[in-house]
Symmetry: C2
Subunit: 313 residues, 2 copies
């Protein structure tokens, strides 16, 4: 294993700082502020054994996935990328090649979404790998889209399709045979694609009133918007967008795709509400799944099954 | 154990957001930027078994100490507090009372140094407690004091006294009897006092050319300034500031106080270099321990003992 300084020097070379920013190498990173902008910050921790198992996920996938949920949080506010900070506690017996692959995954998602690595911490762990990513974004002052702006009459929308990540996890845990739809679903679980570009486009539209990312399943995440906005919703379960890969997988394995879509986590799609007159001209692909109503409860229509009695897997 | 939402609501009440800032409760915290300011960011991870043992440190002390090294990083750049982010992975059997005490320690250091808690992550750990604190500060644009500005001729200075924290750790590990100097040294280890106010005063003085905080021992930390600034130094070991508590403790236990002062970690004092003409008027208590010279090596004078052959404890 390399020494700490050698290791940090290696990271410094692999992750150059953008012009005008002082990144890795001092007590703090230094990032110029701009009048009329807000700084957005989010942080997430992953611990081996709770959030991932070393034998199930490749180091490259883990590197990618470590940053994804944070980038998704910036997307959920409609933010623009600024940079990220990576803290890792490394077990002493972790092979150097493992770490190189992990950093490649982290670098690739950082480059893909233009979040440069600006600092972090490398330390040792007695046994389990522990990862904490903090991400900084920015948005025009007062124009971040929060969870609290939903208004009665708004349409409830989501980007992409839901449940693919949960199905991918099922495929991994149950070690199912690799039929044609499986690699897609596993990629959706291990290499999620936060909707950073989509979030910025949506945030620029004054008709978009509230937004968050779907990390625990739309069934449970929607409640955050409703509680913070003090409104209710009616959702038509038949409108929940499902990929054909998910449908095929569920048919093969006797699973209910709607259940995975409502209750499965880590989709990293966007859930937002928009004024009905603004919806048709939105420049982001999306699906209308229901609407915001007065009150404080959710009515799930379009199915006899009581999905929302279900909890996390 | 409380549910996650109840727990986060409790933290939200305990750590109110300052005026104009959106703290805990959305996908990201939102902090207004100000023209002419830089954002400073630092992150640190602590893992049970590597950085602390539950049986040696009280939850209150751990809460305090978790934030101290980060606040010290902001101090080291001469930054002003903005806020902090606390990510914790909690073992399932952690008593609620333990967590309450931990948060009290975190709240007290946050209030003491005016760093409001603006967000974080609470998640579960299979066994070991894992903590990651990210801290944000600000400084007038381009006026953060880095490690790279030391100039030949500068005086090398430190705030406070060195080695107390290392002596405190020895007292804890060796379970020595609680003679009168011991509580002071243990407090210096468990409840360190980052020099945030001092750092800001020093940074405002154009004569201060480089600065960092002493986290690994001045003997090893000084090298960072020298490497980044491409200079050398001459340090008179007789000038290293030692507390009388440290001297008493070392006399009692046959330890060398200078060794603890040079090689012991977690002092969280400031190490800085200043133009000789600016040094007498500095409005921060400090000790001159040497001077910066041309070249790339350190000469330790004033003792026959080869201290810098020593490494970490």
């Amino acid at each position: 294993m390399k020494g700490e300084f050698e290791f940090i020097e290696g990271i410094r070379t692999m992750f150059p700082s953008p012009e005008g920013v002082r990144g890795i190498g001092d007590d703090c990173a230094v990032i110029p502020q701009v009048q009329g902008q807000d700084t957005l910050v989010s942080t997430d921790m992953l611990v081996e054994g709770s959030h991932f198992l070393m034998e199930d996920i490749s180091p490259y996938q883990l590197g990618w996935k470590s940053a994804a949920s944070n980038f998704s949080d910036i997307a959920a506010m409609g933010g623009e990328p600024v940079g990220s900070f990576l803290a890792v506690a490394l077990p002493k017996d972790l092979p150097e090649a493992w770490l190189d692959e992990f950093l490649k995954g982290y670098r690739d998602i950082s480059n893909e979404y233009s979040f440069p690595l600006l600092g972090g911490d490398t330390t040792s762990s007695p046994d389990r790998l522990c990862i904490c990513v903090t991400v900084l974004g920015k948005a025009p002052e007062g124009r971040s889209v929060t969870r609290s702006g939903a208004q009665a009459g708004d349409l409830v929308c989501v980007t992409g399709t839901l449940g693919d990540s949960a199905a991918g996890l099922q495929a991994i845990l149950k070690e199912v045979s690799r039929t044609e739809e499986v690699p897609y679903l596993i990629d959706r679980h291990y290499l999620p694609t936060p909707r950073v570009g989509e979030g910025r486009i949506l945030a620029a539209d004054m008709g978009v009133h509230s937004m968050m990312d779907i990390s625990d399943g739309v069934g449970s995440d929607l409640r955050h918007i409703l509680e913070e906005s003090r409104v209710g919703a009616e959702i038509d379960i038949r409108n929940i967008p499902l990929s054909c890969q998910l449908r095929t997988f569920c048919q093969r394995h006797g699973l209910d795709p709607v259940e995975l879509a409502l209750c499965g986590g880590e989709d990293y799609e966007l859930l937002f509400t928009v004024a009905p007159e603004a919806e048709p001209s939105l420049e982001v692909e999306h699906t209308v799944i229901g609407r915001i109503v007065e009150g404080c409860s959710v009515r799930w229509t379009g199915s006899d099954k009581d999905y929302m009695g279900f909890r996390h897997f």
